[in-house]
């Protein structure tokens, strides 16, 4: 429960943070809310040599209406995502999902950018923003670039962010009144989902993201394709795990995860179709 020794520097701006991380090399890590990284450091599953603290970059904490999408600063705490009136109106699925992350203490410290950059497939917000077709903005020494959520998650805790890049903004398309549902199956409210589903639907258009159904968050494209071609919700839900590669753990076998994914996708689509 005691992390390995590490150095600590606090960045006062995004530019300084990026220059610090470049200076300290590959073993340096950004830390924002610390609610994913610190537990892993205490278990010594992560042993960064330097932590670059970006937790006080308050200019990266915002939720803005940007026309066809909502722009969310990477340092926006889960609680601020959950209670944002802009998101409640335009992307209610994301606000609702943020309210299911961990417990109130975690939601007051953890950030949406931290959760996405940490890229735990069992986390709620990576799969939710993936289902919503979000775009992530990364800033590096050479400037900023856009990364589609579908291209972002590369593998187990691995993203397409370069070592000297920082996730600065999450852009989520407005849902324009689409039906939506967030299904999180766990045994205690504050736990990670054993399996979770974030879904939206507007007529033939839909998006379904799966939590904890593989080494990365999973976009269930087969389900969306089936809905687009007129399949019933029940039939589409049978394809829930087509893109998934679930692993077994203490909570569930592979077969149980597949079963849960089908049931939860069906429930999510039923709720989204109302």
């Amino acid at each position: 429960m005691i992390p390995a020794a590490f150095d600590y520097v606090r960045a006062e701006s995004a530019e300084q943070a990026i220059s610090l991380i470049g200076e300290h090399g590959e073993d340096a890590k950004f830390i924002a809310g610390g609610h994913s990284l610190l537990p892993m450091m205490k278990l010594r599953m992560a042993q960064p040599s330097v932590l670059v603290d970006i937790g006080r970059l308050s200019d990266l904490s915002y939720v803005r209406d940007a026309g066809d999408h909502i722009a969310i600063g990477a340092l926006t705490r889960h609680m601020d995502v959950e209670t944002s009136s802009v998101l409640a109106e335009h992307v209610p699925l994301l606000a609702h999902a943020a309210g299911h992350v961990g417990d109130p203490q975690v939601r007051h410290r953890g950030t949406i950018g931290g959760s996405i950059a940490h890229s735990d497939s069992a986390s709620d917000l990576p799969a939710t923003t993936l289902a919503l077709g979000a775009t992530y903005i990364a800033q590096g020494p050479k400037g900023t670039r856009e990364i589609a959520a579908a291209d972002f998650y590369q593998g187990f805790f691995t993203t397409s962010l370069e070592a000297d890049e920082m996730l600065t903004e999450i852009r989520v398309p407005k849902m324009d009144g689409a039906g939506w549902s967030f299904q999180k199956f766990n045994r205690r409210a504050q736990d990670w989902a054993i399996v979770g589903v974030a879904a939206w639907r507007r007529g033939d258009d839909s998006g379904v993201g799966l939590v904890n159904m593989g080494s990365t968050p999973v976009l269930a494209t087969s389900v969306a394709t089936a809905i687009a071609s007129g399949a019933s919700v029940a039939d589409a839900a049978e394809l829930a795990s087509a893109e998934a590669d679930p692993q077994k753990d203490l909570n569930a076998s592979v077969e149980y995860r597949v079963h849960l994914a089908k049931v939860l996708v069906r429930r999510a689509l039923e709720e989204s179709s109302k």
Binding site: R187, N251, A252, E255, Y256, H259
Partner: protein, 185 residues
């Protein structure tokens, strides 16, 4: 293992297996029981302790004159008065100085069990401890097993997590289909 009638008295003694009246109950229930506080030994003095009303305060002095002058008070001390008696050190700082009875000091004891079977269930068993929590688990498991009895389920492992219930259903279904296949051969 052989089963015996739990209500049958054990043989060869006059105590074991018999219902007994508790001797102390009358005094306890009627309020006549005597406790240490009720003892009135002639000449015994009473002790009262007054502590600082402030947590974590620095004591700069204790004025005992009013306490000592109060009617009936024999003596009043503060920590300053008592410190020279023991240099401010505990007299018994370890178990070599503070003797507790060791195994060899304990008198010979014969253990016996009193057996009073419960008349309310076939096994005569009783719950001990947090009796309110004992019944919940078998009640819930019985309800689940009853709900799944159509699949031929007669028992399931605890805890009744969704995963365990699902596994129980899956295994019952697969053994049913195996039986059905066997029957069609």
């Amino acid at each position: 293992m052989t089963m015996t009638d739990p209500a049958a008295p054990a043989t060869g003694n006059t105590v074991l297996g018999k219902r007994r009246l508790c001797k102390e109950d009358r005094a306890l229930l009627t309020g006549e029981a005597k406790y240490t506080n009720d003892l009135n030994i002639p000449g015994a003095l009473h002790l009262a302790v007054h502590r600082s009303p402030y947590a974590h305060a620095r004591i700069i002095g204790v004025d005992l004159t009013a306490a000592a002058a109060a009617p009936g008070v024999v003596a009043a001390y503060s920590g300053v008065d008592l410190a020279p008696l023991w240099d401010g050190q505990p007299k018994t700082s370890n178990l070599a100085e503070y003797l507790v009875p060791a195994a060899s000091d304990v008198p010979s004891i014969t253990l016996g069990h009193t057996i009073t079977p419960s008349p309310t269930n076939p096994l005569g068993v009783k719950g001990v401890g947090e009796a309110g929590t004992i019944g919940a688990t078998p009640a819930v498991i019985n309800a689940i097993v009853d709900a799944l009895s159509g699949l031929g389920v007669t028992e399931m492992p605890m805890p009744a997590s969704p995963y365990n219930v699902w596994k129980t259903i899956q295994s019952a279904r697969s053994s049913q289909s195996t039986t059905a296949q066997g029957a069609t051969k």
